[in-house]
Amino acid sequence: MSTRSMPFRGSFTSREQVSVYEFSWLATVLIPLIAIFIQAFLPTKIRWLPIIDLPMMVVIFFAVARRNPISGCVTGAIIGLLQDLLGGPAHPIGMYGITNTIIGYMASSLGVKIDIENPGSRFLIIYGFFVIHQALYYGVGHGMLRQPLEWSWSHVAISALANAVVGVLVFNLLDRFKQR
């Protein structure tokens, strides 16, 4: 059990300091792997599951809990690359890697400044990051690789809503693995 704190440099929370959490190495390894496994396996049983991005939620969760941008980027890169490995021929390795690296960096940078312990802020953060995640993926796929991706605001908005709802529940579950 270790607890660290870092000086608060922003003005978005009334707290003087925000807590920095750590995780056991087992949780650090297994949580992303289980998230990727569920993401790959469950869509065979639940047809709408691909709109939920569990690995992205895990990236955001670790990033805002650790509040360390370097740790956030590395976690995002590793989880994203693992996700890429299960993709098809239209999915070069690195697309999710780049996307999740940036998400991890942004989430950890944001986590330094605001408190995301309550469900409302978590909902908004996940919603916002999902939209950014989709935009980055579209930018990498369509802009860099010239893939025939389609952008639909309505689809992204609905998917972001679903991800935000599920994300709040997932964050509550993952809170059990935090070490203070």
């Binding site: 390795i93 025939p148 991706l149 639909s152």
Partner: protein, 428 residues
């Protein structure tokens, strides 16, 4: 300098990680994996994930089988009765369809149409997906060790699913027809118009390259055209859900796949397709009426002389392999004289010959170079062991065996004269 690095440490690390991944992306785009080649890291990842997926799927299936086979047997008796009734109904249907199929096969044989047969398939279980909306690939639990190869078709009884795009030792990756990279040769069943069925990023499938002036109707069936050399011709693909004008004078036809691509559990991988002609031998006894209906004009009239010097109108070519080559003078052709082929013999044996038609017994006509066939009909008397130097009429009539066939003279009344050489090259 140290202060500067320390200050921008986070950004530098971010830039470095992104740069490395962009370089990796660029390398993949510049040097894509060759056909059939899979990146080693993907092989490792798949090998790490698929055993767990297989274990869960097989455990789930085992539990489901035990439950439904031993525990949950409610309504089974009622279901059995329904199925029996269904079987009886389908038996009647099958008898009717078998007749149609036999007729179709005969016609195909006549026209030398080749059919594609699914010679062997491997059943596989869907164990995973890519987990991404953008890439809709599926993983199945059969791989190269089960004989799975690239570009094999994956189907279900209700419709096609996709094709194999990556093969691992114990699993394979399937590109479904609704993936944006997919393209399948398809055709509208009623209109017989061919196009290409393409997937889209949102998971829909559209039939492209159908001209906008074609009267495509909603609900029309779409089948495989066989043009992609992956899916055999005639497999169900889906039904037309909407028809809209597209770009460049083509229609934009949205197709709902017949196979439930979002709820696949078991699929069949087509491991061997064979092109072959339908085998008429498998069709059983051929009726005289079938033979008569299949006759084509221009069948040669041949009349040969047996060893005893009896004239007989015989079939030539494949229908009568015992046809001697050494009786040219005994071959006669005359308008109105019907001939026999192998099939015609069968027709004759089925009792369509008119009374008095020669061939059903030893012909009485003498062996003259242009002897008239008795009753204007054809005579058929296969004569084995007829030597090349046999002289017509040299010996007493002696039937070798009963001539198997005769055909009524009206079977081919417009039979033209046929040169002797036509014996060796029958038109059919």
């Amino acid at each position: 300098m140290d202060t500067l690095l320390g200050r921008y440490k986070n950004l530098i690390v971010l830039a470095a990680i992104l740069f490395a991944q962009i370089i990796a992306l660029a390398m993949q785009v510049r040097r894509p994996a060759a056909e059939g080649e899979t990146r080693l890291i993907r092989v490792w990842a798949t090998a790490a994930v698929t055993p767990f997926e297989e274990a869960i799927v097989h455990t789930q299936k085992w539990a489901h089988d035990k439950w439904s086979g031993y525990v949950y047997l409610r309504h089974v008796d009622q279901e059995n009765q329904q199925l029996r009734a269904e079987i009886n109904r389908m038996k009647l249907e099958q008898a009717r369809l078998a007749e149609d199929a036999n007729m179709a096969r005969r016609v195909q044989t006549l026209l030398a149409f080749k059919e594609q047969y699914l010679e062997s398939t491997v059943a596989a279980q869907v164990i995973g997906t890519s987990g991404s909306e953008q890439s809709r690939v599926l993983y199945i639990d059969k791989g190269s060790s089960d004989g799975i190869k690239l570009d094999m078709a994956v189907i279900t009884p209700t419709g096609i699913v996709g094709k194999i795009v990556q093969v691992f030792p114990g699993s394979s990756q399937v590109l479904p027809i609704n993936d944006q990279l997919s393209g399948v040769g398809a055709a509208l069943k009623a209109l017989r118009l061919q196009g290409i069925l393409k997937g889209a990023a949102n998971g829909t499938t559209t039939l492209q390259y159908i001209m906008s002036d074609e009267p495509v109707k909603l609900g029309e069936e779409v089948i495989t055209s066989g043009g992609d050399r992956i899916f055999p011709k005639g497999l169900p693909v889906g039904t037309v859900a909407s028809v809209e004008p597209g770009k460049d004078l083509f229609l934009n036809i949205r197709v709902i796949p017949s196979a439930r691509l979002d709820r696949l559990e078991e699929v069949l991988v087509v491991t061997k397709i064979q092109d072959k002609l339908p085998d008429a031998k498998d069709l059983g006894p051929i009726r005289a009426s079938d033979i008569l209906s299949e006759r084509l004009p221009g069948v040669p009239v041949t009349q040969t002389v047996d060893a005893a010097g009896n004239a007989a109108g015989t079939a030539s070519g494949a229908g009568n392999p015992t046809q001697p080559n050494g009786a040219p003078s005994a071959t006669a052709a005359k308008p109105g004289a019907a001939t026999n082929s192998g099939q015609q013999n069968a027709a004759g044996s089925s009792g369509t010959a008119k009374p008095g038609a020669a061939g059903s017994s030893v012909p009485k006509a003498t062996a003259t170079p242009a002897s008239k066939p008795a009753n204007g009909g054809a005579n058929s008397a296969p004569k084995p062991n007829l030597g090349a130097g046999t002289t017509p009429g040299a010996s007493a009539p002696k039937p070798v065996r009963k001539a198997p066939a005769t055909v009524s003279p009206d079977a081919n009344p417009t039979q033209p004269a046929t040169p002797p050489s036509a014996q060796e090259n029958p038109p059919r």
